[in-house]
């Protein structure tokens, strides 16, 4: 018999993942080219050539025990140092390997950070819309998610409500920018305000509040947009990073946490992250992929590919009368549902073999997420289908519906 907590989770199993499975089945039935699967953030861009070159090189030239054996739970020293130096060059920081913990992707990193920090009953603030898995991660450690409602005009965090929702039980705040599902980059102004409020509330309550910033999309910013380095705006920041999107390696589970020296309880926090990595069963991030990262520190995915998708999709949808904000980063577009119940809308889209994720998955009903990390053909060929959908729903070309 599975646990009670799991019963609920199995029933309501991630809508996104369920769609992934459904997409595979639809592709088998209708042919992959006839299914417009915008459901999952699974990059369609190949990993940069450097990645596979690095793998070959490492396999040829590394002693097997070093290559495939255990290392410290926090990861290979030299890889952590390489990452620290790369961040220093980019953000003018002064990190060393002691600030870097290699993790099993960002999902692994967030679980490690939350395990290190949360006591049962602690409150974790998240800004809607946000990646629904945060609810599960927080629940893993008996924390409680407190949701700040979305500002559906700008999709920047709702600062006034944020300030009101911080209590003496708040031990973490999670942000994600560039944002999944909106593609919005949290502005410097937003981050300054968030930092100021957190400093103020820490003093008011005599507590420590960590700001966990989930940044798998950090390198995916368009039109030269700058993604601010969050620890500059708040001392108690923990950065969670992943190479899943920036190097198209989501199946390999490789990322890292940054814990800056200036964070409260730094030494214990780093030690706790190491212990959490071990006892949660990760033990360490996969060795070969750590070494690959060490060699590919300057590699980058071809962002122009996503940018073309972004422009084509955005302009196409706007022309059809749909309402959405142009994404600034990541590879998601968050579109207003033409009907109130966006789940019904997503179901209607399915009849046109278009797979969209309902916004309620992100605590933001009334919208759908379109993951455009797909082939350009998928984007182009989906537009006539979106047109039929718009027509069925009476969406007007002037944007009203």
């Amino acid at each position: 018999m599975i646990s009670k907590k799991m019963e609920g989770l199995v029933k309501g199993s991630s809508v996104i993942r369920a769609m992934f499975e459904e997409g595979k089945q639809m592709a088998a039935k209708y042919g992959a080219e006839n299914v417009f699967d915008f459901s999952l953030g699974n990059p369609n861009v190949a990993a940069p050539a450097e990645v596979n070159e690095a793998i070959m090189d490492i396999v040829k030239n590394t002693d097997s025990v070093k290559l495939h054996g255990y290392m410290s739970n926090v990861g290979h020293d030299e890889v952590r140092e390489t990452i620290a130096q790369s961040l220093n060059k980019k953000y003018g920081t002064s990190y060393g390997k002691e600030n870097i913990i290699m993790t099993v992707g960002a999902a692994g990193g967030l679980n490690v950070a939350l395990k290190a920090i949360l006591n049962p009953g602690d409150e974790v603030i998240a800004f809607a819309p946000y990646f629904g898995e945060y609810n599960n991660y927080v629940s893993n450690f008996d924390g409680k998610v407190v949701v700040v409602s979305p500002d559906t005009e700008t999709f920047q965090p709702n600062i006034a409500e944020f300030e009101q929702k911080i209590t003496n039980k708040t031990t973490c705040v999670i942000i994600n920018s560039p944002n999944n599902p909106t593609g919005v980059i949290y502005s410097e102004d937003t981050l300054k305000k968030v930092g100021e409020i957190l400093e103020k509330k820490q003093k008011e309550f005599g507590t420590v509040i960590y700001l966990i910033t989930d940044e798998p999309y950090r390198e995916l910013a368009y039109d030269g947009a700058i993604v601010p380095w969050v620890p500059k705006y708040y001392r108690n920041t923990i950065v969670g990073y992943s190479y899943s999107k920036s190097l198209s390696l989501p199946g390999e589970r490789i990322g890292y946490l940054v814990i800056p020296h200036e964070a409260d309880d730094f030494g214990n926090l780093v030690a706790a992250a190491g212990v959490a990595t071990r006892i949660l069963g990760f033990v360490n991030a996969p060795s070969i992929m750590q070494l690959v990262i060490g060699k590919c520190i300057d590699a980058a995915t071809d962002i122009s590919y996503y940018d073309r998708n972004r422009n084509t999709l955005y302009e196409g949808l706007i022309k059809l009368g749909f309402t959405c904000q142009k994404p600034e980063g990541a590879f998601y577009l968050f579109m207003k549902s033409p009907i109130e119940d966006e789940k019904e809308f997503a179901n209607m889209a399915k009849t046109y073999t278009i797979l969209l994720v309902p916004g309620s998955t992100f605590m933001c009903p009334g919208f759908v997420r379109i993951a455009y990390c797909v082939s350009y053909e998928t984007v182009v060929n989906s537009l006539p289908k979106f047109a039929q959908l718009a027509e069925e729903l009476g969406v007007k070309r002037d944007g009203s519906f």
Copy 2:
């Protein structure tokens, strides 16, 4: 501030891992060849050549999105099927891919299984001596470990005490054979009795009790010893496997769970394992290593290497008057401490640059674990040091001390 639970864990952080760090430091200070580090189960045997050949082949011939992208949380279908067929050939079972869940090593697999099953307060029975991390894994999900005391004569499970300790709150039993730290293989007779008792107790309490068998050492059995396939003796068995030891890949974090069709609540259990893999932050086992396993299903590590270490170490220690049972499998030897406090003994050994793990780490004080997955030279050159240690302690050549 780190969580209260973590404070204790950071302070008492794994003795084994602390030794790993200490061993690295001692090696830097005295030279690696002068440190006899028997502390960690980090195989010193290179991965079989097939592994690196498979990596090269996969990298050259696999589409990047397939190779490095997301797959179902439970793993690549074809790899799971390959593993199922391999088990069928070996054990006469009839598994399919639906019975196999790819995991981030056995540590990941055990966490997934426990997450799927445990309600807060549930009791999990473990037989001392056992791998101390089980305590943390169970605690992750608010379960309670109930320890069956060791039979220090045979190191087979203490069956009478086991039967007494099962209650209506017992939802899991964890076993590990070949055993870490003793090297003992649980006999067919033992497993039959364990299965019978569990069947009886399930009926008595009207409950379901899963037997989780942790088997990273399954392929490491000497002198032609047979490691029984546990699901044959008890229906509600979940097998946790890892390639860490059998293919010398501990840093790569690759293994699997087997959930047989005949297990109670089979469908939910498999679904829960998939969900647990996702929400615990593993998401999936590393993609490239999954594919490697698919290609290396018949590869095996060179067990004769460990066997030579085993014989040399065992015979050497016995000659010096130390007391221990000859290991039948794995690469550990569990030696009686010549003084009551085995922690003090381990500290004395350190002054001879010998690193041993105290048995209390395995809930079995009075013994030390010697991990002989080291170079043959380390074994050979450690024996004069052990001789000095024996002399200091007045260990007699006839075995008395």
